[in-house]
């Protein structure tokens, strides 16, 4: 993308000199214009915006303490003051939902950051150097892609010991393979392009060629894939927490809240409803936002 932008700026400079002034548009504003056309994507972005605000300052929005227990109110149904009611130990469910968005965002963004870092590094190495390096790394990527992530996560979380940090690291280190595959394919074709040859000819070091010229051009699909992946990661986190192998009580995680709901499903069936709706909406929001981003950033993949 960087190359495209540079040449666009150059053209504008020239056209400015000759008098053909055209409205200046950055790469970002052009992508934004394309993104805006997809309404569900906008809705997704808006919902994610709300979640981010909740995650940053939950105390501003949560009406009560998310871990304070009011034993007299155990399993109390919804009321005006407590719209989602109380859970099995008498905690306000609405407040726990709002604080839970912090856990969801931490895991979603943290694990994705780890996965993107590993995936881009491995993919770029395989694509740039080729040969036996590529063969070995690609086999590794294929294996990881074929292996069901949830099984791997459960085993790793059980061995390392479940905690928030474990969840983030373990999900991050098991979900990078799709990034590696995409980046490898892109780097493979990018390294043969003229601008890479030009950079090499003007004496750029190997690191400079990779980081300044090749990788920026491969980032579009990665951003799209990362956005679409966050939803899946949030489901993985909630499944792990549901199984008791994720975020530990009393930390409010949506998956763990559904697990509480399961344990008390006979007596307080309402406990499990709200966190499930929240997970669904969040995953939906990231998937729709990702669809919109794909149309805006990566027109090749449009159906």
């Amino acid at each position: 993308m960087a190359e495209v932008r540079r040449s666009a700026v150059a053209t504008e400079r020239i056209s400015g000199l000759t008098g053909f002034e055209r409205e200046r548009r950055s790469e970002f504003s052009r992508a934004w214009r394309r993104f805006k056309r997809y309404r569900p994507g906008l809705a997704g972005l808006a919902f994610i915006g709300v979640l981010v605000v909740f995650a940053l300052v939950p105390s501003l929005f949560a009406p009560y303490d998310p871990i304070a227990q009011d034993t007299a109110m155990r399993g109390a149904p919804p009321s005006w003051a407590h719209p989602f009611g109380f859970d099995h130990v008498g905690r306000d469910i609405l407040s726990r939902i709002i604080w839970g968005s912090r856990i969801a965002m931490l895991v979603g963004l943290g694990a994705t950051a780890i996965a993107v870092t590993i995936g881009v590094t491995i993919g770029a190495t395989a694509g740039f150097f080729g040969g036996w390096v590529d063969s070995i790394l690609s086999r590794f990527v294929d294996t990881l892609l074929a292996f069901p992530t949830l099984v791997l996560l459960i085993v790793l979380a059980a061995i390392i010991g479940p905690s928030l940090l474990t969840v983030i690291v373990v999900i991050g280190t098991t979900t990078w393979a799709s990034y590696a595959r995409v980046v490898r394919a892109d780097v493979l074709s990018l390294r043969e392009r003229e601008f890479v040859l030009a950079a090499r000819a003007s004496g750029a070091s190997q690191a400079r060629v990779i980081f300044r010229h090749i990788l920026p051009n491969a980032m579009g699909p990665v951003i799209v894939l990362a956005t679409l992946g966050i939803g899946g990661i949030i489901i993985l986190e909630s499944a792990l927490s549901f199984l008791g192998l994720g975020v530990q009580p009393p930390t409010p995680s949506w998956g763990a809240m559904i697990s509480d709901g399961r344990a008390f499903i006979r007596h307080y069936p309402q406990i499990a409803i709200a966190p499930g709706v929240m997970i669904t909406l969040t995953v939906l929001a990231f998937n729709l936002f990702g669809d919109g981003l794909r149309d805006a950033l990566d027109p090749r993949q449009r159906e």
């Binding site: 086999r139 590794f140 294929d142 294996t143 074929a146 292996f147 069901p148 992530t149 949830l150 099984v151 459960i154 085993v155 790793l156 059980a158 061995i159 939803g231 489901i235 909630s238 499944a239 549901f242 199984l243 008791g244 192998l245 998956g255 559904i258 709901g261 399961r262 499903i265 006979r266 069936p269 499990a272 409803i273 966190p275 499930g276 997970i279 669904t280 909406l281 995953v283 939906l284 998937n287 729709l288 159906e303």
Partner: protein, 308 residues
């Protein structure tokens, strides 16, 4: 074709080697000695510990241990459960496997029967009401956590309406809820895939040619479009086989279904490592065989793959 098969077989063996090495390595990376991990929380005598050490060659260097381990596993000797003392792991697996397979078979059949025609129809009648509603449904289906749908179905059909049992297995009524949950998840994925693949094929030249020579719409769709569109769908089903099976882990836990998924989680909870490693090992073999078969079937159906 022969060369292709040999190459893929070798690659499959490399993958099995890598994953078995990783499974074996996990036991050694975890804190505590391998014997401690194998015993878990069970109380055992020194004799049992000695027997385990001897059986798995734990007093020898790690590469010999790996070979002993691999040899035992390949012979189907997965050791003994430490929780259900003395019961061979292979027997536990044989008890649990049929119920899991049945559950998956039913839900998968239902998913295919509904999702593939729906996906094709959505693509053919693109931007119609049917297309929009089925794709909204599929998008929602992908976002719904399966364990949560399971709980909601239990609340509605088992607790409020009292029509169906909330868990366990035995009668046909026990199948309905877990099959519905698993089918929902697979339907959502399959319908989106089928629609995407069909839309792509609809734009190909041979479809235009078929139309131009005056074939009826139905003939074009069934003879030319669907046959080609299903190729990528079949491939992805093959590659996702292990993912489909791993979906049962959570669903079996929700419905107290006595299958492999629940056995896996129970063994994790009770630290019954022998059972866990056996399940992971078998899953790996299944993944590799599934991928290999898919590749070979694909190469057989589509000659373009072989030439590459």
């Amino acid at each position: 074709m022969f060369q292709y098969i040999v190459r893929r077989l070798l690659q499959g063996l490399v993958v099995i080697f890598l994953v078995t090495l990783a499974t074996f390595g996990l036991m050694h990376l975890a804190p505590g000695s391998p014997v401690d991990i194998m015993i878990g929380e069970a109380e055992v005598s020194q004799e049992v510990i000695d027997a385990i050490t001897k059986k798995w060659g734990l007093d020898r260097p790690w590469y010999e241990q790996y070979l002993v381990w691999l040899g035992n596993m390949l012979r189907g000797d997965f050791g003994q459960s430490m929780v259900r003392t003395g019961v061979p792991v292979s027997q536990m697996l044989l008890e649990a496997a049929p119920v899991t397979l049945k559950l998956n078979l039913y839900s998968f059949a239902i998913a295919v029967l509904i999702a593939i025609p729906a996906g094709v129809l959505a693509a053919v009648r693109r931007y119609s009401l049917f297309d929009y509603s089925s794709m909204v449904g599929a998008t929602l289906g992908v976002a719904l956590p399966n364990f949560w749908i399971g709980l909601m179905l239990i609340i509605i059909f088992a607790q409020k309406l009292r029509w169906l049992p909330s868990g366990g297995s035995g009668s046909w009524q026990h199948y309905i809820l877990p099959v519905a949950v698993l089918a929902t998840e697979q339907m959502a994925v399959l319908a989106r895939l089928t629609r995407g693949a069909t839309v792509e094929v609809l734009h190909q030249d041979f479809v235009t040619t078929a139309r131009a020579k005056g074939l009826a719409d139905v003939t074009v769709i069934f003879r030319h479009v669907v046959r080609n569109a299903l190729l990528p769908v079949i491939t992805i089903i093959g590659y996702r086989l292990a993912f489909i099976l791993s979906g049962t882990i959570v669903v079996e836990t929700v419905f107290a279904w006595p299958g492999l998924g629940r056995l896996f989680i129970l063994s994790i909870d009770r630290l019954d490592y022998q059972v866990v490693q056996a399940i992971v090992f078998l899953l790996t073999i299944l993944v590799v065989i599934g991928n290999l078969l898919t590749d070979l079937v694909y190469a057989y159906i589509d000659p373009r793959i072989r030439i590459q």
